[in-house]
Amino acid sequence: MLTHHWPKATAPDRVVVLGARGFVGRTLLTALASAEIPSIGLSSADLDLAAPGAGEKLAGILRPTDTLVMLSALTPDKGRGAGTFMANLRMSEAVSDALQKVAPAHVVYMSSNAVYPVVCGPISEATPAEPLDLYGAMHLSRELMLKAATQAPLAVLRPIMIYGAGDTHNSYGPNRLRRAAHKDGKITLFGGGEEMRDHISVDDVVGLLLMTLLHRSAGTLNLATGRSISYLDLAYKIADQFSDPIDVVLTPRQSPINHQHYDIINLRRAFPAFVFETIDDGLAKAHREMLAEALPT
């Protein structure tokens, strides 16, 4: 649950975004610019958080009045092993080091729903975090590192799978299914696509992130829509976006079915006026953007 240090939405002095070239980072910086909130975006090219001395460098940039948003992470497509895990922790170590040198006014950490195990029934912030893999363990470790490193209000946001045209990852979700349909004219599902999953658009994630900044919120919040659909339904929704017929291919099931649902009442209470994009609208927008990006310039 989040608590708002600023009950009335107020623009922060400046927002420093780590992970500026990532999928969420780019969208956030665009939103901050639209809202005329001063910001600095730092990508790994600007500041390699895993390199020695990164904490010192970040401390040289940070001001006590800043809001720091940490989006940087090596995602599972960059590796699932111990090397990636340790590199991610080094990045968090650098940020923790910087936070101890310069205490900003607010810190926001973009974690992941990977901190949760497979559970029966809806996941909420009260669900014990028991990661099943190193990626989830990394995010949980980073949450704890940042909590230990700063006295500033800290918001930990745990998004479910994010979709949008600009996503560079290829996890089993709307982005991969859309790309597969675009490239191969077919969508291949695990088993019968029975698993229920919640998917959130990058615009909604950034909208909620922006609200977190404007209210200087602290605490832990899952970023989910509260509406899960099956992969099969998702595949058909994506296929419907294309003018040519798209085959939805089912395969023999290799692993047991598990579903994921989210209880988002804490999000409702934190941001009562927030309205989610429907999955149909979000998929249509992502589809349009994908086609626009594919057009020759």
Binding site: P122, A126, G226, D263, I265, R268, R269, P272, A273, V275
Partner: protein, 423 residues
């Protein structure tokens, strides 16, 4: 023996109703409270609590009730019940200091040989921990139900009495008093009686949680919980009085207190608390059912909606708002316009930053985008769905407790949403 004089220390909801029931059974009753203002009001039959039939009881048997803030008056009593409120915090943790303090006052005032009976809800071990001789010390399980307190006090199903020696006879004065109610008397050791009260409440919570869990499933699979309930009540193992109405979680404070007590005791003694913890989680989850429905059906679709709320008390026939689902709902509606009405609880700006008070149950509907019925007051059952439909701007009625007739609402063109039914 002649009728004993009965004392009640602590003019609480429990104390007042119990004292009135004792008077109705023909006993002279001394009602003591440390608050002179409360005594002053009660002596004039100005009641600080709302309970059906309580004013009538005061009117009929009031001459047997004597009110005092002077503890010395308790020296006349043969049996003294100590019945202060045991306050709880937001997590249901009990503060036992008030009951200890009142026991001390009573102890100092009562005559030798009189029986002191703790009536407040206390955890196992409390009565034995009191620093006094145990021969005339008892714990009696209270079974007060808000909204049915008079009925429960006048016609108890049984008395559960904790004593230092369950095989010994009760003192004649206490035995005479209890016998006047013509119901079974079950003596047991202190700890058993203290845990009996909690055990009753745990069984009730288990039933309610079962109902809530399956009612939610009904909403998803197209079943109707109200069609299932009669078949359960006809099962002798479950019974006709079982608590199977789905609701918005556990409220009122007493059940929550017992849930917290059991979890704390399990933690202390290393027993398994997980089932009780899941009841607590389920209660919190169901409490927000209306807020979720509002978001899905109204808040995501209607610009600047006006939300009408009928009912603020945690249940009907009471003024109590302790852990009220209605107030929990209001706390989640911060930026929206809200209009509310309750027959007893006054609309208060602390409930919601921009809440408006309506003058009647029907006028609360005027121009609203949605009507939400949060307390099943009988007054609301008399509302005409067609009149509601005429006054509402929107079409949606969210009625978790099924106060209104579903078919009549649908016939009036309303979208009717209730617990346990897909809609």
């Amino acid at each position: 023996m002649s009728n004993p004089v009965i004392g009640y220390a602590g003019m609480t909801h429990l104390g007042i109703n119990s004292a009135a029931a004792a008077a109705a059974r023909g006993f002279d009753v001394i009602c003591f409270d440390t608050d002179p203002a409360r005594i002053f009001s009660l002596a004039r039959h100005v009641l600080p609590v709302v309970e059906p039939e309580l004013p009538e009881l005061f009117a009929e048997f009031g001459e047997r009730l004597r009110f005092t803030s002077d503890p010395a008056a308790l020296a006349e009593c043969d049996v003294i019940y100590v019945a202060p409120d045991v306050p709880t915090d937001d997590r249901g943790n009990s503060n036992l200091a008030p009951v200890r303090a009142l026991v001390e006052i009573v102890d100092g005032a009562m005559r030798s040989g009189a029986a002191l009976v703790v009536l407040s809800q206390v955890p196992p071990g409390f009565t034995r921990s009191l620093a006094r001789a145990k021969t005339h010390l008892f714990y009696q399980v209270e079974t007060l139900i808000f909204g049915r307190a008079v009925e429960r006090a006048r016609f108890p199903e049984r008395f559960m009495v904790g004593t230092v020696d369950p095989k010994a006879s009760l003192p004649p004065a206490l035995a005479t008093f209890l016998a006047a109610f013509d119901c079974p008397i079950l003596p047991m050791r202190y700890e058993s009686a203290e845990l009996a009260k909690i055990s009753i409440n745990m069984c009730l919570v288990a039933m309610v949680s079962t109902a809530n869990t399956l009612a939610e499933l009904c909403e998803k699979v197209g079943a109707d919980w109200s069609e299932i309930v009669p078949s359960l009540k006809l099962d002798k193992r479950i019974g006709p009085y079982s608590y199977l109405a789905p609701g918005l979680g556990i409220a009122g404070g007493n059940l929550e207190r017992d849930l917290t007590t059991v979890i704390a005791l399990a933690d202390q003694h290393g027993t398994d608390p997980r089932m009780v913890q899941s009841w607590v989680a389920n209660s919190m989850y169901r409490r927000d059912w209306v807020l979720s429905q509002l978001h899905e059906r109204i808040l995501a679709n209607v610009h600047d909606p006006l939300i009408s709320v009928l009912g603020l008390a945690y249940k009907q026939d009471t003024h109590s708002t302790k852990n009220s689902p209605s107030l929990a709902l209001l706390s989640g509606l911060g930026p929206f316009r809200v209009k509310a009405y309750d027959p007893v609880v006054a609309v208060d700006p602390t409930f919601h930053p921009c809440i408006q008070a309506a003058s009647s149950a029907l006028s609360v509907c005027d121009g609203a985008d949605v009507l939400v019925i949060m307390t099943p007051w009988s007054e609301f059952k008399a509302l005409s769905p067609s009149e509601i439909a005429e006054r509402l701007r929107g079409r949606t009625v969210i009625d978790p407790y099924a106060v209104l007739d579903a078919d009549a609402c649908r016939n009036a063109g309303l979208v009717y949403v209730t617990l346990g039914v897909a809609s």
